[in-house]
């Protein structure tokens, strides 16, 4: 009896939900980091022990773990580092998500149109895309800041201008392949209108690529946003943003080293997490894109 059960089980290897989950090899550590980031961004006002901008000169320059009130210490003006880090997560998420979402939508639409229509529309759009790709990012961002004055909208626009072209390029390439498939030709023959073909038949087939590029771009966008904040092109000085915090620490590096250390670690860890997650997603969704080890 027992043996026959065993044979049956082997013949039909039905995995439990645990087994199926294990088979996906989800990157748990990066996912945990990203969840913490999102939680900090969403609930900064509950999680942060102090107001990130309230000054407290008596308790300034406290070292990390020196006082139980301020776990990661305080900066030159006595502001609580932990609270500033938590609110910094909110800034990072706000700016990156906005820029990324806008870039993804604009880039995808341009890629779809360019790839599907071809001819002169494709030629013109791809020339513009090439020009945008061939432009150094920081330089472009500085031009934007000259026009708009420093601030979050300037940073978002600067990031957006460099991001959309990458989406347009990749999506267009995918559309060119999908366009040749029989089901698209059949839809066209039966008289389905172009916007519906694009939305119903082509878009679902490029959605995987879209997700993979999005997740791989996040890390780069966070780095760019941090660099622009560091250069003083983003939020006003004193605002809780990781790039600004590193810059504030630079003025007193030998005296109060932890001011620059913690925000930098936060940026690195978050970017690492997104990179790992993006790599996993690419391998999981699209084995064709897999790089050589």
């Amino acid at each position: 009896m027992a043996t026959s059960d065993l044979v049956l089980e082997n013949a039909q290897p039905q995995l439990s939900w645990r087994g199926r989950l294990a088979e996906k090899r989800l990157p748990w550590i990066p996912i945990a980091v990203l969840l913490v980031l999102l939680a900090c961004a969403a609930f900064a006002h509950w999680l942060a022990p102090h107001d990130p901008t309230s000054l407290n000169v008596i308790n300034s320059k406290l070292a990390p773990f020196e006082s139980r009130e301020h776990l990661l210490g305080t900066d030159v003006l006595g502001r609580d580092m932990l609270s500033r880090l938590i609110y910094g997560a909110r800034t990072t998420v706000q700016i990156s998500v906005t820029a990324l979402a806008l870039g993804a939508v604009i880039g995808t639409v341009i890629g779809l149109v360019s790839g599907y229509w071809g001819s002169w529309a494709d030629a013109v759009l791809m020339r513009i895309t090439d020009a945008a790709l061939g432009f150094p990012t920081i330089l472009l961002a500085l031009v934007v800041v000259v026009i708009m004055n420093p601030g979050p909208p300037a940073i978002i626009l600067a990031v957006l201008l460099t991001v959309w072209a990458r989406f347009a390029r990749m999506i267009r390439g995918d559309v060119l392949t999908v366009k040749g498939y029989d089901f698209v030709t059949l839809a066209r023959i039966t008289g389905v209108k172009a916007p519906i073909i694009l939305w119903r038949h082509i878009f679902p087939n490029v959605a995987n690529t879209l997700m993979v590029i999005t997740s791989l771009m996040v890390g780069q966008i966070i780095l760019l946003e941090a660099a622009l904040s560091f250069l003083g092109l983003g939020l006003s000085p004193g605002a809780p943003a990781w790039g600004i915090m590193v810059a504030e620490g630079q003025e007193v590096i030998l005296d109060v080293w932890w001011l620059s250390l913690f925000p930098g670690v936060a940026i690195t860890v978050v970017v690492l997490a997104f990179n790992f997650f993006g790599d996993w997603l690419r391998d999981y969704l699209d084995p064709k894109l897999r790089r050589a080890r």
Partner: protein, 321 residues
Amino acid sequence: MTVYIARRLLEGFVTLVALSFVVFGSVHLTGDPARFLLPISNDHDEAVYEAQKKAYGLDKPFIIQYANFLYKAVQLDFGNSFTARRPVREILLERIPATVHLALSGMVLAIVIGVPLGIISAVKRDTILDRVCKTFAIFGMAAPQFWVAIMLIIVLAGYLDLLPAYGRGDTQGWLPEWSQIPDMIRHLILPAFVLALAIIAAIMRLARSAMLEVLDSDYVKFAQVKGMSDRVVIWKHAARNALIPVITFGGISLAGLLNGSVVVEVVFAWPGVGLMLLEGVLSNNFPQVEGAIMVSGAAYILTALIVDIMYGYADPRVRPN
């Protein structure tokens, strides 16, 4: 090939003109340079304002001003810097050598460190050395440049006092005196390394995966079976082929280096074009911004152009048709 070069030249030229239009146009959108130059107490004196406008040619129509700007830009004449009160051209000529030194040193470091590490990492695959290299590559791509720079300054310049923390030392212009060379190199090490970090990581990954592929090929196995020494097989037979993608990438990233240097120049107070650009942006110093952007943009476009053309010669597949 001639057609290809002609097309790339035309493309580069069009991009450059587009850049000049955007830069000039944006300065005009942001406000009125003539009003900015007025002393604050005189804010309402219209006669002074009109005179100021006339003096800088700001009363003429936009298109004439733009043509004027282009004509002068070709001669690197961008007018006087508002803050330094001297020609932008003079400042540019002082700053360009510093940025070129930095970018070239960064490139050399990236190749000298990245290529051998990538090859060794592939040859000693799955050893501790390989793991260390891989970890370094992953962190090199994720850590923000400006932060790595500050950490290195704290440790190497602050606590250990091994290297200078900022500036270019006594070096000025293109070539310093012989006696100043050690000082110049000491000042270059940290900024060049930070500038190169992300490229070192990328080159290492690229060299490693290319090398792994080549090591797996028949001709390398044959050379090994024939009894050639490992050293000859790896460095003479395999590495040469593995380096083709690395060279392409190196060319592209050199163009990027010229501009990626804004952040590094700011952290290390390196007196280059990038620092000049940021100072100009933060103080609404329009002539300085125009000059710095046009020069870096032109350098970027030109480098990318040269790399593309050279690559067209090296690899026939890139040429159109």
